[in-house]
Symmetry: C2
């Protein structure tokens, strides 16, 4: 695969390919042409070929793509070919929703602990995952090889918590708080911000646009 | 404002401007230059000027932007200057997390009902929002002027539910199910898909990249 730099736009599309290929596998499809894949995903066949050529191209002229092989290769590119231990800080509804989300495990993300400072939640279990108190966090991180921390906390707490996590060796933060955590952690920490409000605002914009175009009475 | 077509990339950035301007307002900042805003948001000043020029430009040479005015104008562009009624289908952890999220209301999104088919949840309240049964949905939609439906359902149910919602006059779907609902509804319906798994996979990719670059031992 080498050291070729892959554009952000391509990386952004890879998980979607991965999902569609998974659905094809579940449906018993063994191979697929870029044309068929393009119809299902509503992107052009040439974009699919271009995107996958970034990684050496996995298709064969006249045969198409082997679904299982292609999905396995994409998994490797995304780092899904080995397990990742994840903790969730904030055991409210959103934190518990993430913990309950068994599908992450299929993709090699294993939630090993939830943390909160609400004593009423202490030692409660979500599925088989214990809720622990925040003061237990540093000890837990020392004993367990955790790579990813999901933050479902208010903004003020998230910034402080990010510092604590980084000091304790976490290198990947999945941030649901309303702040761009990538701006406050070192560049050696990967951050994905999930800004739900922003997604809802884009929906509102698109709704307004449909109205202005007269497509909605 | 006229009929000028605004690029998707600009629209994608507007909610972020809106959020930063809100933080500035909360901090008592009345005006700001594109240079200062650029420092805080870590985008170039020229991008900020370009983006905002799409909407006629709100700044004055040598004065900068009036924070309140600029935020109000962006709110109008995003359709946040009037209330939107929203329902949530699926009253599990994620649905309840969204219902509990009071911040949406500050941005004019008002959750007026949760729906589920789990009878154990019937008539339970989340904050002041009642959980109703799915068979009450068509009647509820006839009586209430609901614009947006958030779907926190498994994929299989989400596709069927989207059809029912569209038949009952919903024109905006905020979709959390693992499927691209925009591909199955008419073009007169706005859809935002929130694919949490894909965000987590991008995080995994970025973590792997840091490792490969030797930035993490």
């Amino acid at each position: 695969m080498g050291q070729k730099v892959i554009s952000k736009a391509v990386i952004k599309r890879l998980p979607r390919y991965y999902r569609y290929l998974g659905e094809l596998l579940d449906a018993g499809v063994e191979r697929i042409s870029s044309g068929e894949l393009s119809q299902q995903m509503k992107v052009t066949a040439s974009q699919i070929r271009q995107d996958l050529n970034n990684f050496g191209g996995f298709g064969q002229q006249g045969y198409g793509y082997n679904v299982y092989y292609l999905r396995t290769e994409i998994a490797k590119i995304l780092g899904l070919d080995r397990p990742h231990k994840m903790i969730i800080i904030g055991a409210g509804n959103l934190g518990q929703a993430l913990a309950n989300y068994a599908k992450f495990e299929k993709n090699s993300f294993h939630v090993v602990g939830l943390f909160d400072n609400n004593k009423a939640l202490k030692r409660k279990m979500v599925r088989d995952i214990p809720i622990m108190m925040i003061d237990e966090l540093p000890g837990f991180l020392q004993k367990n090889d955790v790579e990813i921390a999901a933050l479902t906390l208010p903004k003020e707490n998230a910034i402080d918590m990010a510092q604590i996590l980084v000091e304790n060796g976490i290198h990947a933060i999945w941030n649901f708080a309303h702040t761009d955590l990538n701006l406050v952690v070192p560049k050696t920490v990967a951050v994905q911000n999930v800004h739900l409000s922003e997604s809802l605002m884009r929906l509102s914009y698109n709704l307004k646009t449909l109205e202005e175009e007269g497509k909605i009475k």
